[in-house]
Amino acid sequence: MKIGTPLLAVMVLALVAWTGTQVLHLNTLFGIILPYTALAVFLAGFIYRVVRWAMSPVPFSIPTTCGQQRSLPWIKQDKIENPDDLWGVIGRMILEVTLFRSLFRNTVTEKRGEKLAFGSAKWLWFGSLLFHWSMLFVILRHLRFFTDPIPFVVQGIESLDSFLQVGVPLLYLTDVFLVAALTYLFLRRVVVPQVKYISLAADYFPLFLLLGIAVSGILMRYFFRVDIVEVKALAMGLVHLQPVVSADIGAIFYIHLFLICSLFAYFPWSKLMHAGGIFMSPTRNLANNSRIIRYINPWNYKVKTHTYDEYEDEFREKMRKAGLPLEKEG
């Protein structure tokens, strides 16, 4: 159910694209209308979700501190893991977002008889990092379809990515990495019993969708060649808001494109929003300086307390006997 349904869903999506373009010839729909719609949903949805989070205040300064605090001048503060100013926070966030600092901390706990043992466990960190960076490179490479002339940076990434000079067309390393990382992320979900136990359909669906996108893209590049000039014409038309319906580019292209559209439209309503959420996480993006500068809670309100006067009223006799100073002798 949790694995089958999302797998089926992705297959159905691919089938829809195939039927839509190969049988019904709805090329305008799949080549123009849906990409625009998906992009609009993605942008609007992403902003909507971030704004929704932002509408709730952060009432308290709750950074999770992972190093020495700012304290006495001769004690060395860990300015990144326990920042007390904006620069430290920026450093911490850069490490978190680009290198997955917290995940790098990962350990594995093993119970060996009557003892616990902690071991290093960097595979999840490595797999995740490999996936995200490969994905970024793949996206940047795709800019070649949307730009003319192709920026130097994009060309640089391409040559870096294909530096092995293997195959025709040249093999992109990130293609291999992307599929390998996704496969690893999928396999650990089904192989590690604890991870399988906590997984939801919503965890498998994006994996299948991304795998579908990667595989269809790889097939298109290395096996079922499509007319690259037509693809670029379509992409440039979309970019310049003067879309032209192309002749049939090929089923594999439309499947690839439609899966991407599905990912874009799905993104803001899913766990993939961790991409936006990480920047807003109050345990990471706040400085640990709440003893230095008063942190303000916008909804702080007066509460009922038990005052010293009430306390003294209750215990006055006992306090007097004990020789404690009193506010009222009464």
Binding site: S56, I62, N106, S128, K196, S290, W299, E312, K321, L324
Partner: protein, 538 residues
């Protein structure tokens, strides 16, 4: 307290997962793993809703008629007030990095003690009532209906989390289960569902100023006993002041240190230090609690209990506040107090009257941690110390969860230990500092009736202590937390016999050479000191 379970039985678990999915696996209330229900009387004292006597063993938990509405509205309200709550409901990808970081999971093998699943207990309800996918696809989207069984499950598992934040150090998005547990407990409290061990101290603290319910004269009597012992040990009679107006410093300790062994030895250390310094300080019988069990109840209750510290500092006209060794107290002081009850503009930026050090890091809160204060003294050579008096002790240090992960007070206590002891050994790196393992009794779980749970939750820490006992002959677990001092002795006796539990200022008190003192023959526990030059060999 029930008879302690056999070690073999306790350790017979593994990390295999049940054959049924977690939503189909009902929470089983195992004796020894949960606390008694809150008494109506204690809830009434602080005006909490649905005050009544009840027991978690009852089939009927006597919930108010519209309980479901209360919870759903309570969730909506909290999501509008806390970005953390809303965000943490949405962004988890269930990568599982947190799963084996929780001491309760490590010690029970119960998958619902994985932080991720503990959060899913609440997230599943969030999805069902607040997200389109959950409303449409239900279970396929990881959503489930809110039922009385769900409420019971929440109660069982949200009082099986010590809010230690270890999971949040490992989470790639910083999702903090402590934050989710706090929200879960707030929601449960809307239905009058607390534990006796938390609501009792809350009521005590509200009326009498401290969790243990010490009345003013009882506090003074307890200190008097300590002073007698100090006199026996040092030949010096100390006369501290209480509720004295015009003192320079208000000293606030966790009430555990005023109450029972081994906390009182730490308190004796404080008193000796202040006496030796000639510090112009006073203690308050009203603000006689630095800790805050309200924090384990609701934000509002925590604020209500915390208010008395600034109020008393103002009434007494002190310049600044010095705080004792306590874990969650310092989470509250560092991250909440000033926000709730500040600005403390009637106080001055703390300056050590001995060294002249201005505590810039406490510039706004005006409250200094005693290990910051003492480390500064030692650094400036203001204390005469004889660490050899602690030579029979082989010490390791347990970082409290809150001072590590909600403050970052790591080096200060270590510096003091390094100057008052000659034998100090760290536990393995994965179990200290920001990765420190919880005592398993924090956040109001240090009751007697849930001893099995505490033993299990404390097992990972005990396991690390046992490791250094084996490699270095460690016989003292030093700490800076009253809850540690209250809970570790039983845990150590069970898991690592032969290891004593001591506050850092107890070690300091033993090493401190006071003016005009007699030659020390006994330590603060009135136990014979070994002869000079004889250290314990492994």
């Amino acid at each position: 307290m029930a008879k302690l379970p056999d070690k073999k039985d306790l350790l017979s678990y593994d990390y295999a997962v049940p054959s049924t999915e977690w939503m189909d696996t009902p929470a089983e209330f195992k004796p020894g793993t949960y606390c008694y229900g809150a008494r109506g009387r204690n809830l009434e004292i602080v005006d909490f809703p649905n005050a009544r006597d009840w027991s978690p063993n009852d089939e009927d938990w006597k919930l108010p008629e519209n309980w479901k509405e209360i919870i759903i509205e309570g969730m909506a309200e909290r999501m509008s007030k806390y970005r953390s709550f809303k965000l943490f409901m949405d962004v988890c990808v269930r990568c599982g990095a947190c799963a084996d970081k929780c001491h309760f999971y490590m010690g029970t093998g119960d998958p619902k003690n994985m932080p991720v699943l503990r959060a899913e207990l609440l997230r599943s309800v969030y999805r069902r009532y607040f997200t389109p996918a959950g409303k449409m696809f239900g279970r396929l989207a990881g959503a489930r209906d809110l039922t009385e069984d769900v409420i019971k499950e929440w109660w069982y598992y949200f009082y099986q989390c010590t809010e230690c934040r270890r999971c949040s150090a490992f989470c790639p998005y910083g999702i903090d289960q402590a934050e989710i547990t706090m929200m879960g407990r707030e929601l449960l409290n809307l239905l009058g569902l607390n534990t006796d061990w938390i609501s009792g101290p809350v009521a005590n603290c509200y009326m009498k100023g401290n969790h243990v319910g010490l009345e003013p004269q009882a506090i003074m009597d307890n200190i008097e006993f300590m002073l007698d012992d100090i006199e026996t040990v040092t030949g010096r009679r100390i006369e501290p002041s209480f509720n004295r107006k015009g003192a320079e410093i208000l000293f606030v300790a966790p009430s555990g240190d005023l109450f029972a062994e081994p906390g009182i030895y730490t308190c004796m250390g404080y008193l000796m230090l202040f006496e030796q310094l000639g510090l112009d300080y006073t203690m308050s019988t009203f603000a006689s609690e630095g800790g805050n069990f309200g924090f384990f109840t609701s934000n509002e209750m925590a604020k209500r209990l915390n208010a008395k510290i600034y109020a008393e500092a103002k009434r007494l006209g002190v310049k600044w506040i010095l705080g004792g060794e306590c874990g969650h107290m310092w989470r509250v002081v560092n991250q909440y107090m000033d926000t709730w009850n500040g600005p403390a503009d009637f106080l001055e930026v703390p300056v050590s009257p001995i060294t002249g050090t201005r505590f810039e890091n406490a510039r706004s809160t005006k409250m200094v941690h005693i290990t910051e204060f003492t480390a500064d003294l030692i650094y400036h050579n203001k204390l005469k110390l004889d660490p050899s008096r602690n030579d029979h002790l082989r010490v390791t240090f347990h970082d409290s969860c809150n001072t590590s992960r909600a403050m970052g007070l790591l080096e200060e206590p270590r510096y003091i230990i390094s100057k008052v002891c000659n034998n100090f050994f760290e536990m393995p790196e994965e179990t200290i500092r920001e990765k420190t393992l919880c005592c398993g009794s924090g956040s109001g779980l240090n009751a007697g009736e849930n001893m099995e749970l505490r033993l299990r939750g404390g097992f990972p820490r005990a396991n690390a202590v046992k490791y250094v006992q084996g490699t270095h002959g460690v016989n003292v677990l030093a700490n800076i937390c009253a809850l540690d001092r209250a809970s570790f002795p039983a845990l150590m006796d069970y898991w690592v016999p032969g290891v004593k539990v001591m506050g850092v200022h107890e070690l300091l008190g033993n090493a401190l050479v006071m003016d005009n003192e007699i030659e020390r023959t006994v330590d603060l526990r009135l136990e014979e000191l070994p002869e000079k030059g004889v250290s314990s060999d492994v």
